[in-house]
């Protein structure tokens, strides 16, 4: 990452009712996400993904606000709503949502500044794909990727925009254990490098414990606990995921975050 990122805190307040799946659902959350990985942890349907969509601007909350530093992205009171393309958010979707008609390089170039020349964009894509270990895929299309490869390309594409906030929606749910560990380590490193706030949705205990610098435990649209992974997750050893979690045993100290990172 060439630019020195200026890091700002992401301030979120959402008080919304969402309709869906035949029932209405109340979400009431207020928190400020600082640099590092903020885990939104809880069972499906607890409102985690709604928060990501609101931050990305893909969903306009009825009441509340989203601010990054002193920039207002969304504010129900004043009616301010910045469209997604103006926010500088990198969103790693659960389904990855790679562009199937484009090669890996074209996928990664898509979000780059139009001020860069084509050659500059392609060079940067090459660097980013190298950074995530996917250079061999550059001229291939997503249909030929394995799950882990698609994941890496999606990550490179998300980072190509020099994002100011990173959103991860259960990013590793389709991967096996070894790949999870590798990619988790990669994401932790990248977030550290970028020095930006990241929100990661998961209901995987091991993932939350090993990647998070902070864990917000959610239930029924509310934050019920908020603290370090140790504080929040310690007394949830009985959490339903624990028996089958592939990342159990991957504790924070096993993810080494280098102090200096080369390009």
């Amino acid at each position: 990452m060439s630019e020195k990122p200026k890091s700002s805190a992401l301030d979120i307040a959402l008080h919304v009712v969402r309709e869906g799946h035949g029932q209405s659902f109340q979400l009431d959350v207020e928190f400020t996400a600082h640099t590092g990985i903020n885990i939104l942890f809880g069972p499906s349907g607890s409102g985690k993904s709604t928060i990501l969509q609101a931050v990305a601007g893909l969903y306009r909350p009825g009441k509340g606000h989203i601010r990054l530093g002193d920039e207002v992205w969304s504010e129900s009171q004043s009616g301010v709503f910045l469209p997604p393309e103006k926010r500088g958010v990198a969103y790693l979707f659960q389904s990855l949502a790679l562009f199937p008609h484009m090669t890996a390089t074209q996928n990664v170039c898509y979000g780059m500044s139009r001020q860069l020349s084509r050659a500059q964009r392609e060079e940067r894509a090459h660097d980013l794909l190298g950074r995530v270990g996917a250079n061999h895929l550059s001229s291939r299309k997503p249909k030929t990727f394995s799950g882990g490869e698609a994941q890496r390309v999606a990550l490179a594409r998300a980072l190509a925009t020099s994002p100011r906030v990173l959103l991860l929606d259960e990013p590793f749910s389709a991967l096996d254990r070894d790949l999870r560990v590798q990619l988790a380590q990669l994401v932790v490193e990248l977030v550290h490098e970028l020095g930006i706030p990241a929100l990661q949705v998961t209901h995987n205990h091991g993932e939350a414990a090993s990647m998070g610098s902070r864990v917000l435990k959610m239930s029924n649209g509310r934050i019920v606990e908020d603290g370090s992974p140790g504080e929040v997750l310690e007394d949830h050893r009985d959490f339903s995921d624990i028996g089958k979690t592939p990342m159990l045993g991957l504790l924070p100290h096993t993810l080494k975050v280098p102090h200096t990172l080369k390009e």
Partner: protein, 220 residues
């Protein structure tokens, strides 16, 4: 066998199909991207030509573009010619019958594109227009192309609307389908023309199917 009607048909169908692409994809874009009151009513109105008796449709078109109509008179004051009973009438007749096929297929192809992929484009900095042009439209293209092929076949084979709007003037507005009718009516041979029209139809369907297969292979 006089082959002039066949060339006229190909020419008319090509122009009508190009018009159908522009108008059809435009209307389909509106119907699929913009939520407005009466959207489904508009959809029904623009696709009803598919299920109407061709002579009824022809009656409406003739009323709309005939000599005494507003459109007909405007056209006359601009060009000195007429829409009805001219080649332009043939084109309009073929267009009206074929544009619903493009609208239907394009709307459904645009709506079938995974919305998350379009949202991904937006979060990567694309305006709604850019996301539409670079992601949604290319991904819908195979479905749209299939509809366009069917529209061409429909335009090439139109009988009812054309006979109402353009008549069947030999050497002027007599298209291949009308020519076959006239040949049979005067007990003259029509087999060769019938064979060529049949081969064209089969070729179009074959192309439609292979477009579909290629899209499946490419995007899975």
């Amino acid at each position: 066998m006089n082959w002039d009607p066949l060339w006229l048909s190909y020419k008319v169908a090509t122009i009508a199909t190009l018009m159908s692409i522009i108008v059809g994809v435009g209307v389909a874009t509106l119907l699929s991207q913009v939520r407005f009151r009466g959207r489904e009513l508009v959809d029904a109105l623009v696709t009803v030509p598919m299920v109407m008796p061709p002579t009824v449709l022809g009656y409406y078109v003739l009323t709309a573009v005939g000599k005494n109509s507003w459109l007909g008179q405007t056209y006359e004051s601009l060009t000195g010619g007429h829409i009805a009973f001219s080649v332009v009438g043939c084109v309009i007749a073929a267009f009206v019958g074929s544009v619903p096929l493009v609208i239907k297929s394009a709307r459904s192809a645009l709506e079938r594109v995974d919305p998350t992929v379009v949202r991904a484009a937006r979060t990567l900095g694309a305006s709604p227009l850019r996301a539409y042009l670079t992601v949604q439209l290319p991904l819908a293209a195979p479905g749209i192309a299939a509809g366009v092929m069917l529209a061409f076949a429909r335009a090439l084979g139109d009988f009812g609307v054309t006979v109402m709007v353009a008549g069947s003037i030999p050497g002027q507005t007599q298209t291949a389908a009308l020519y076959v009718y006239e040949q049979v009516a005067k007990q003259a041979p029509a087999g060769a023309m019938v064979a060529v029209l049949t081969a064209t139809a089969i070729g179009v369907l074959y192309a439609v199917n292979s477009i579909g297969r290629r899209a499946d292979v490419q995007y899975g």
